[in-house]
């Protein structure tokens, strides 16, 4: 319960959009790199390529900026 509250407090903390995007990108790239390394160690072959990580990152950025654009439009 204590940790859930900590997580909620962290999520609700006010941040600049740039900081939020950086956190999102960090989580995404960090997790994908972790999957890539573990995949390589377990399977002994390329489980997740760098190309796939870059594509996922680009798609993520597109989605995030679409959300931001929609947010600005709705505020107006």
């Amino acid at each position: 319960m204590k940790y859930i509250k900590m997580l909620q407090a962290w999520l609700l903390k006010t941040r600049h959009f740039k900081a939020e995007v950086l956190w999102g990108v960090g989580i995404l790239v960090g997790a994908l790199l972790l999957i890539k390394i573990v995949g390589r160690l377990v399977l002994g072959t390329t489980f997740l390529g760098f190309g796939t990580i870059i594509k996922a990152l680009l798609l993520y950025m597109v989605i995030i900026f679409v959300i931001r654009f929609a947010e600005i439009k709705l505020k107006k």
């Binding site: 999520l11 609700l12 903390k13 941040r15 959009f17 939020e20 995007v21 956190w23 999102g24 990108v25 989580i27 995404l28 997790a31 994908l32 999957i35 995949g39 399977l43 489980f47 997740l48 796939t52 990580i53 996922a56 798609l59 993520y60 989605i63 995030i64 959300i67 947010e71």
Partner: protein
Amino acid sequence: MKRFELIVGVAILMILSTFGLSVHAYQKQVVRQEKVELQKTAVKKSLPKSTSKDDKLAADEANATTTSKDSKMNPIDWKKPSEKKDYPDLTKYPNAYLKVSISKQRVYVMNGNKVLYTMYASTGSKDSPTPTGTFQIQAERGEFFYNASSKEGAKYWVSFKDHGIYLFHTVPTDKNGNFIEEEANQLGKEAKSHGCVRLAVPDAKWIYDKVPEGMKVEIH
């Protein structure tokens, strides 16, 4: 919902979907590698030659010998030849070729514009379609293979593309070589294979025994 929660949520969703796609791609790669291994271990045999190794297959072949002069098609039965007439003698037709119709789920043995023999077939499903175009029968062929990842095998396989990847073969079998009736009954009706062309047992055996390397294969 706060914007940051949404951003983190989308990131998690992207991680999960990328992981899922990678698992799917890896599985496909494993299947492909297994088929390539199969091709490497395949015994290149000289033609024509025919042997039957197990009793079940011998029984299937006994059914296959029932032929008559009537040129009409037999009802769809994966244990029997597709037509009632004899298979064509390919030595008389040096320019014969195989034509696969995906829309009709048939394989035609052609000589020019003339159909010499029609076979019931089952081609690749929507997810793994049979490649279309013009190919040639390749050197790789064998009496049995089993693919552990798809849990299916087949008898009397003959490669027509990618050296052991795309094949003509019988309706599918389990690892012990027993035909899977549920899948076999879709012959001539539904495209259900993983990209290969499934045929009735005697038809596949005839292709395995008689169709030489280098014969043209047209798939539409």
